[in-house]
Amino acid sequence: MSRRNPSLILGLTLLGLLSLLLISGFFVDDDSAYMNVAGQFEPPSLKHWLGTDKLGRDNYARIAIGARSSLSIGACSVLIGGALGSALGIVAAWYGGWLDLLLARLLDALKAIPNLLLALMIVTIFGSELPVMIATISLLAIPLYARMARAATLKLKTEDFIQWTRLIGIGIPRILLRHVLPNITGPLLVTASLGFAGAVLTEASLSYLGLGVPPPIPSWGRMLSEAPLFNAPWLALSNVVVLTLLVLGFNLLGDGLQQMLDDR
C-alpha cells in the first residue's frame, strides 16, 4: 500500500468485530436464544448484555445466532451469484453477437424491477426456508456481477496483450481464465463487497416484511419488526446498530479496495 488507506483498515476492523460476534454465537448457551431464561423485556444487564425480548430470550444470543443466516446468505450470494454472474458477463462480452445482445437486454430489463420486488415474488411462491432464501438472493445477485464483468471484459478485449493471446493461438477457455479473469478481479471484488451488504439487506428487508427465514430461527429483520419501541427500545437499537455496522463495514471495504485499485 503506497498511500494511507483508512477506509480499508476501518472496514476490515468492523468486519473483524462482526466475525467475533458470529463466532461468539457458537459459544453462547443455545437454550437462551430459544427459551425463556429470564423475565420478559429485561433491560441490558451483566447477565443479559443486550436485554431480553418478549419471551424472555437473551437478545445477544439471538443476534449472534441470527448472524449465521444473514452472513451465510451474504456469502452464498457472493460465491454463487458472483461466479455465475461473472462467468455470464465474461463469456457474453467475449463472444458478442446475439448472446451479448440478449444478456444486455435482459440486464436492462432487470434494472427496471427492484430486487426486493422480485425477491418478494419468488419467496411468496416458493416459501422462505433458508435454502430457498439463499437460492433466491444468490440468483438475484447474478445481474450485478454480470453487468460489472461484462463492462470490464468489453474494455479489456481491446487491450493489446489480450489481442496478443488470441494471435499466438491460446485456447479461448484459457484466455478467459488466465488472462481476462485475473485482470477484472479488482472491480469484481469491489462489487462483491457491496453485493454482500446488499444481499444481507435484501434478506433483512424480507424478514422485516415478515417473509424471512421462518421462526424460531432468529433473523435480524424480523427481530427488528417485532421489537416494541415503547417498552424495550434496546431490542430495536441493538439490531439497528449491528445491521448498520455490517453494511458500513462492507461499504468501507469497497471504498478501500477501490482506492487500492486506483493507487496501482
Binding site: L118, A236, V240, V247, N251
Partner: protein, 328 residues
C-alpha cells in the same frame, strides 16, 4: 439538435425493456402452484360460476395466449381486475398513486434542500485554511461529524432508519406521529405532519448520497486547469465556486437526483409498510402476498414504466444540459 435517430433508438429500447419486464413477471407467476379460481370460490363452487370466472381470467387458454390477451388489454389501458378485490387494477393504482407521489415529492424537496447546501458547505470548509485557528477547529470538527453522518446514513437500512426516527421523534421527543397516515383531502395540516417522518426515512440516505457525489464532483472540478486559471486571475474561492465550478460539478449530481426521484416514485414497500401509508408499495405488498396476479402484474408494470421512462427523460435532460453529449 438531438439526433432524431438516437432518440428513436432510445425510445425503442425503452419499449423493449418494458416488454421484457412484463414477460419476466408473467413467467414468474405462471409457476405458482394452486388454482386461482378454486382458491377464490372455494372447492365446492358452482361449476357454472367457476367456468365463468375461468373465462374472465382467461384460464381456459394456454399461457402464451393469456399473455397476449393481457398485452392487448394493456394497449387499451385495461390492466384487468384484481382477483381479491374484484376492482379494476388501474383504478386501484390511481387510488394509491397520490399518496406515493406526495411522499416522493416531500422526500425529493428534502433531498434538494439538505443535500446541495450541505455538500457545498463541506467543500468550502475543506478549502478554507487561512482562517483563525479557533474557527478552523470548530469547522473541522463539524466537517468531520458531517462526514461520519454521511457514511452512517449511506449504510443504515431504510427500515432501520425508519425505526430510529420513530424512536427519537415519535416516542422520546413526542414531536411527530409514528403511524396513522392522513390523506391530503381529509385534513391537510395533519397530512403534512404525518408525512415528515416517512419522507425523512426515504430522503436522508439520498441526502448522504447527494452530499458524497457533490463533494467528489466539486473536488474533481476544483483540480481542473480552468479552476486554477480562475483562482490565479484573482477570483476568491467563493467566486470561483459560484461562477465556474458549481455548474460543471452539478452535472453528475443530476444523474443521482434523477435516480432518486425515479426510485421514490416507484413507491417504497418497506417505508410504506413501516408507517402504514397506503401507496404503491403497500399495494404491491398486498398484491404479492395475496398472489393476486393481475394486481402484481399491473403494479410492477407501473413501476417498470416509471423507471424506464424516467431514465429516458434523464437521458434527454442530459442532452439539453450538457452540449458535449450531442456530438457523440
Amino acid at each position: 439538435m438531438i439526433s432524431l435517430r438516437s432518440l428513436w433508438s432510445r425510445l425503442l429500447s425503452a419499449l423493449l425493456t418494458l416488454f421484457v419486464v412484463s414477460l419476466i413477471i408473467f413467467v414468474i407467476f405462471q409457476i405458482i402452484p394452486g388454482d386461482a379460481v378454486l382458491s377464490r370460490l372455494g372447492l365446492d363452487a358452482d361449476p357454472a360460476l367457476e367456468a365463468l370466472l375461468r373465462e374472465e381470467l382467461h384460464l381456459n387458454v394456454p399461457p402464451w395466449q393469456r399473455y397476449l390477451l393481457w398485452l392487448s388489454g394493456l394497449f387499451q389501458g385495461d390492466l384487468g381486475n384484481s382477483l381479491r378485490f374484484s376492482r379494476p387494477v388501474s383504478a386501484m393504482i390511481k387510488d394509491s398513486l397520490p399518496n406515493t407521489v406526495a411522499l416522493a415529492t416531500f422526500s425529493f424537496v428534502e433531498v434538494l434542500a439538505l443535500g446541495l447546501p450541505l455538500g457545498l458547505w463541506l467543500y468550502t470548509a475543506e478549502q478554507e485554511s487561512g482562517r483563525a485557528s479557533f474557527l478552523r477547529f470548530w469547522r473541522r470538527l463539524a466537517g468531520t461529524l458531517l462526514t461520519v453522518m454521511v457514511q452512517l446514513l449511506l449504510a443504515i437500512p431504510v427500515f432501520a432508519l425508519a425505526i430510529i426516527l420513530m424512536l427519537v421523534f415519535g416516542i422520546w421527543l413526542q414531536l411527530l406521529p409514528i403511524s396513522g397516515y392522513v390523506a391530503y383531502n381529509v385534513n391537510f395540516p395533519l397530512f403534512l405532519r404525518s408525512l415528515i417522518l416517512p419522507s425523512l426515512a426515504i430522503s436522508l440516505p439520498s441526502v448522504a448520497m447527494v452530499v458524497r457525489y457533490l463533494l467528489t464532483s466539486l473536488r474533481e472540478q476544483g483540480n481542473q486547469t480552468y479552476a486554477r486559471t480562475a483562482r490565479s486571475k484573482g477570483l476568491s474561492e467563493e467566486q470561483t465556486l459560484k461562477r465556474h465550478l458549481l455548474r460543471n460539478a452539478l452535472i453528475p449530481v443530476l444523474t443521482i437526483l434523477g435516480v432518486i426521484l425515479i426510485n421514490t416514485l416507484g413507491g417504497s414497500i418497506v417505508v410504506e409498510a413501516a408507517f402504514g401509508i397506503p401507496g404503491i408499495g403497500q399495494l404491491l405488498n398486498t398484491a404479492i402476498r395475496g398472489r393476486d396476479l393481475p394486481l402484481v402484474q399491473g403494479v410492477s408494470f407501473y413501476i417498470a414504466l416509471v423507471v424506464t421512462m424516467g431514465y429516458l427523460l434523464l437521458d434527454l435532460l442530459y442532452l439539453v444540459v450538457d452540449p458535449r453529449m450531442k456530438r457523440e
